[in-house]
Amino acid sequence: MAAVETHVPAILEIADDCLILGHRLSEWCGHAPILEEEMALANMGLDLLGQARALYAHAGEIEDKGRTEDDLAFLRREREYRNCLLVERRNGDFAHTMLRQFYFAAFMQPFWRDVAAGSTDATLAGIAAKAEKEMAYHLRHSGEWVIRMGDGTEESARRMADAVIELHRYTGELFMASPARQQAIASGLLPDPESLRAEWDETIAAVFNEAKLEMPEIRVMQKGGRDGNHGEDMGHLLAELQFMQRAYPGQTW
């Protein structure tokens, strides 16, 4: 069974994750701690933007209502964005940004791997094959930094430990399946995120072990992004993200 219109919301969830995190990374432009990371952050941001574009274009095509990738990326209201809360969290310091990237990539790399291997939607499988390689790099790069900062200087260890306390509670949402997602899982479009949990746990535990970081015990995971209930920073993010298309509708490069 190929993708049908009811799959659009599920695809948009992933597209929104990629767009919002890509935008967050773009905010580092000109502010990275060293030139080498300036390039790395921008590269990762562009990877995610590329994934978002492909997903928006695909969703727009399936939906067949004439909405383009630009319409979907720039002209929806805040409540219509269905990204998870993790990706919209503010950049904070370099430790926050790298840990957020690590949590996300540790989920997305196996996620895309399974989409590439088994999705009933051939276009999605194609997007996934390319995205998996990109996320494998994000995972390696961010993981190396988590290790070096966690097991680094007194200051870097403190900053990374603070980031874990702040961000870990947002990781639960990666494994929650919205009704739209459940439908996509049932038709073989996407893997069940629950099936990726053990692997994610292992990835995190291995890096935390090397980084000498403690795994926090979170009683209640934060959620809401998949229902369009975003944090207070989301509006500011969208104001920046959407400014050009709102001020100059239809503007192109």
Partner: protein, 97 residues
Amino acid sequence: MTDRHDLTPLWEVFIRPRNGLHHRHVGSLHAADSALALQAARDVYTRRGEGNSIWVCRSADIAASDPSFAEANFEPADDKIYRHPTFYDIPDEVGHM
């Protein structure tokens, strides 16, 4: 506070454009260790498909010839043109050598 450059020393980067060619020096960067230097090299120097293999080495580990000794090193070779194999007649069939 420790100087940032003590924590992230300079590395030289070599890229091989494709199989069969040799690695060429393309530039340098700062990184804490070889793993991060390789990643930084990938991010800084292979964004446009420049290669398929990267080497890095600490700049401090390169022993370089002394520029002030350049005349003594290299000028003696200038008048020994017999070292260039230009005195052979090469048959046309051999083509470009």
